[in-house]
Symmetry: C2
Amino acid sequence: MVTIYDIATKANVSPMTVSRVINKSGKVSEATRTKVENAINELNYIPNSSARSLTSKKSKILSLVITDITNPFFTKVARGAEDKAKQMGYSLLLCNSDEDIDKESDYINMLVSTGVGGVLITPSEDKSRKNLRTLNKYNIPFILLDRKIEGINCDAVHGDSQEGTRKILEHLINKGHRKIAIINGPLDISTARERQKAYIETLNAYNLPVHEELILQSHYKNKDSNSDISKLLSVKLEKRPTAIFAANNFIAINTIKELRKINIRVPEDISVVCFDDLDPSIDLNPFLTVVAQPAYHFGFTGAQMLIERIEKTAPPEFRKIVLPSKLIVRNSSAHN
Amino acid sequence: MVTIYDIATKANVSPMTVSRVINKSGKVSEATRTKVENAINELNYIPNSSARSLTSKKSKILSLVITDITNPFFTKVARGAEDKAKQMGYSLLLCNSDEDIDKESDYINMLVSTGVGGVLITPSEDKSRKNLRTLNKYNIPFILLDRKIEGINCDAVHGDSQEGTRKILEHLINKGHRKIAIINGPLDISTARERQKAYIETLNAYNLPVHEELILQSHYKNKDSNSDISKLLSVKLEKRPTAIFAANNFIAINTIKELRKINIRVPEDISVVCFDDLDPSIDLNPFLTVVAQPAYHFGFTGAQMLIERIEKTAPPEFRKIVLPSKLIVRNSSAHN
DNA sequence: ATAACTATTGTTACCGATAACATCAAAATA
DNA sequence: TATTTTGATGTTATCGGTAACAATAGTTAT
């Protein structure tokens, strides 16, 4: 392990001078600077950031805490955040909370523990408030991505769930659908609440009845075990909806799979649309009609705001950015 | 910031005793243990791992360095690694090298710097050897995933490029294809070399000619800029191949997009198959015929081996695990 | 009862870097 | 020339935790 003491010895200066060269702080003569720099290069020195953050409490490491690494929405967010971080000389650590509040807590503790400089987080649920408070307590700046948490005052980047939901429902309504079901995420996630609210409001606006049985609950994750969906849909054959609005991409995928199991065709028998786009392979066989959010910009903008907050160049008041979403019509939605 | 000194004061013991309780090391009486534990809970203590790793040089943090976070193959690897890490009480940090050796170096330095306990890495290219040497120098155990690097002796988990290539080519050959092109990744990545070698060997085994013009080079990443592919394919219209073997999923996606631009239909005009599966949305519209690798197990097994290495429960000699791949026939490959 | 041991707890030094202060020589000013 | 200022470098203490050793009290063996 090479330390500044090794460098100091080699360059015949004090460790402090080495530190100054490394951090470009204080005054160092041109001559000693080159001496030290040569020593650093020769010995292949890597600063020990444990030691560093122990005293200086600063760190050029950001973290992005997402809830599902297998969801293309989040990988695009990650890509955006990483690009900005890199551009500004920061590294980005990814943590996958898996929509699990305990995992999330573990990661937050770990990040506090290692002294991360700032956090971009998609909170797993409303209970995440506890974890955000922890970050506050340790003065670690953070940005809320995608989901809102009541009672937490901070910078945030969100999508427009209200507008997006309206757009995609109007698309269905224009295609003649009158009985539209929603399969939503858990209501302890803000986006699910907003999409549900917008769903009801939009139906009302078009004078369509809101049926309780057409409002279903699922989860945002990619796992198959929600056969309740298929059960519910197969039961009400006579008053079956003609279209389903899935609150995210994985719900849509699971829904379509379940529908197929019971031999209901999409879009011939029923249309399925959703929030959030799929990965690039969708282009091969354009299928799902979606409202896509600018995922990359969530990450990019979020990282930018976070770095400004860390470097104290951000305005004192917290900023709430709302990014627009876009309707992409493909083949999973048909005329009724 | 709560420290063990605060706990010590509150519990009326020495800091060292607190440390012993936290680490379950040494002897502590039941009475003091509970006293300390209560203090810890009351004060909401989070250990400072910078301080910790400064002395003890141990860390319960693993890192997974992958080359493309948007590739479902790697997100599945990540999921597997994370599950195992979690199960064993470790956290997993993800780093996305983006197939870029400089980014990779930056991340490795950062990881060394923060004192990571071990690294699972998919090296971006043969030049990564330098970065692996760095890990060796700092005694950080690592596991090579997916790709091989000459001259580096370590544990590794690989797929069977040879076998997988053979399987998928035989599938095409059985469908009557005789002129099969390969669009490969960069030859400074071991899997690309192996797939190319297996491609040639398999053609030889079936007494099929190997045409130099049918061996194309691209990159494993998901970006569109390889219109050279379309150029090359459009030129040789008369001696156009009847099937294309893409060395990974993104190459296949890009290839098909390029083919469509020039109005070549898949699979009617040309079959396209590839290594590595796509994300779950492929199930909606089964399209690409692939040889899928057990990505999740890459991560899971890799993490297991890494932890064994860290905890010194691994056998002294290095282990090379080869995981089998599986042919999944879908609709992108047709009879010739 | 005393030596010898064990269980439990405390003390000190140190990990590598940096903040804060100290030093010293050369340059600027009075 | 004497004094102040400035530039360049060094010294010391400290961050929070732990390894190594020290100390103390309570047990057991002799």
